[in-house]
Symmetry: C2
Subunit: 308 residues, 2 copies
């Protein structure tokens, strides 16, 4: 099961950290950017090539340091087809380096459109007698607000050979997430209604580690929500974003873990990939700074969480 | 204002119909598919080229017949970068033919990632001293469940020169939409909480037609919800999907309009673009069948709605 693969990779490195690859021009070292423009042109192709080089550099540096990466599709899609081509290469490179690779598509479709996406992301697109998989990944992040019709098309691929998994946004990491997600309905908060659905979608799809193949995204800025959700849903694997740049802290993130330090992974993006711009890491290049930022985050988490 | 442009185009043709371009291989005539494979290869490039030709054929045929088209990004993105390149061409072609062009991105991001998408979709990506707009469109469809942080980054572009607009999913057209969207919270249904937010996001952004620049997607399979929402939100422009293939009917869709036949547009995808496969249109090619299917839909709607 895919969730077992993720949990095993975390246990091997004793590091429940996922690095988010969310490239934007401001986070790329000027020399790297300039070289890409020289090589491919000062346009979307050049910028996409810079994204590719920046991300593969980081993947090289973080190999054996973190078990998992999250690729933010919005950043690549923002550059049009050149960006998407770069994203395909980044995903393939991350898979080659044996990371657990999560693709943050953040799509919300239903019915036959969700089926089209599921086929492309997990099953492969059939053309003639060949099958093409443009976005190799181990799992994706989805928004389940539209209901089961948006999730069910993905479920067949959560088992069998080469299984995938899903993370559904239960409680997002932004300040205004309360506007809808924290409304009360009967004896439930809306985001727990989403957690209930997430658990239901996992039915019969549990890994040996005890967690379901459909995990939940639970924002690091909502410590109370993390605590309540962990208590109530002891079989949902949690992805906790918002660490670092967004203000999430180790203590709050630690609420997501069980007493073995399992069942959760904490993601950080800008604070790691843009570490080279921080005074703290002055003199280090983007690769060394990213590793140093992860090591620091690791020490912070270890104060509260020990992965057994 | 962009919503005025949409309303004016609808009034000009007296047809509140938007055709959804959701290409999938099964809906493309075999001869067209074969020709594309011959020209570009029997792979994702060939299939993407078939999508492009199929969509531009339909755009040619429907010019002057419908005022607006909706491009489903999931279908194109499913083919990887080749699909995205085809989508860029389809969007540009639709804009050239003067359609109102809605891009159904169905993304849900927040904060700086939403800002990245907004910049790309509406503002343009700055590289050196040039700006690139990979996805030319008049508006996009978003999921607002994550709260204002996911919508606000788009708002600056809803005014000024070349303004855009947004459609936020309030009540989706799928059967399981009730699982979260119809839960009761206090005196509100969750989807009305989303409608309240949608209205708030429109503040100070109203067109001369009286409708806000941030519209609402209200599924055609929920007639009661359409009626209630129209009564309660007389300034929200409604996009009603689910007509035709998904089972929505003219009478139910008509509840979305005001007494002048304004304030709403009904979208149909498969029932129009795949009309050539229906027995009813046997002998017609995909272009003629699509026009015939739209004319039929137009007559059905005219029984209940007259656009003044």
């Amino acid at each position: 099961m895919s969730i077992d693969v993720l949990q095993a990779k975390i246990r091997k490195l004793k590091t429940p950290i996922m690095v988010g690859l969310d490239p934007v021009a401001e986070l790329i070292p000027p020399a790297l950017l300039e070289a890409s423009f020289q090589e491919k042109g000062c346009d979307l192709n050049g910028l996409a090539h810079a994204y590719l080089r920046f991300c593969t550099d980081l993947l090289d540096a973080l190999k054996g340091v973190v078990p998992a990466v999250k690729v933010q599709s919005a950043c690549f899609e923002a550059l049009g087809h050149a960006g998407v081509a770069a994203m395909e290469e980044v995903l393939a490179y991350a898979a080659k380096l044996k990371y657990y690779v999560l693709l943050e598509t953040m799509r919300t479709d239903v019915g036959h459109i969700a089926a089209v996406s599921a086929q492309s992301l997990f099953g492969g697109v059939q053309v003639g007698d060949r099958s093409f998989l443009p976005y190799p990944c181990d799992g994706i992040v989805l928004n389940g607000y539209l209901g089961s019709d948006g999730i069910k098309p993905y479920l067949p691929w959560l088992q069998g050979e080469n299984p995938k998994n899903l993370f559904v946004v239960v409680k997002s990491s932004n300040r205004s997430s309360a506007e809808v997600q924290d409304l009360i309905s009967g004896d439930r908060i809306i985001h727990t209604a989403m957690a209930d659905l997430t658990l239901r979608w996992s039915t019969d799809l549990f890994g040996k580690c005890g967690y379901g193949e459909v995990g939940a995204v639970v924002g690091g800025l909502a410590p109370r929500a993390i605590q309540n959700l962990r208590k109530r849903y002891d079989t949902l694997f949690f992805l906790v974003p918002g660490y670092g740049a967004q203000g999430g802290v180790a203590k709050h993130a630690s609420y997501a873990f069980d007493r073995f330090g399992h069942g959760a992974i904490v993601s950080a993006s800008r604070s790691v990939i843009g570490a080279w711009k921080q005074e703290e890491y002055a003199g280090l290049n983007h690769q060394a700074a990213a590793v140093a930022a992860v090591e620091k985050m690791k020490r912070q988490l270890e104060t509260y969480v020990t992965v057994l």
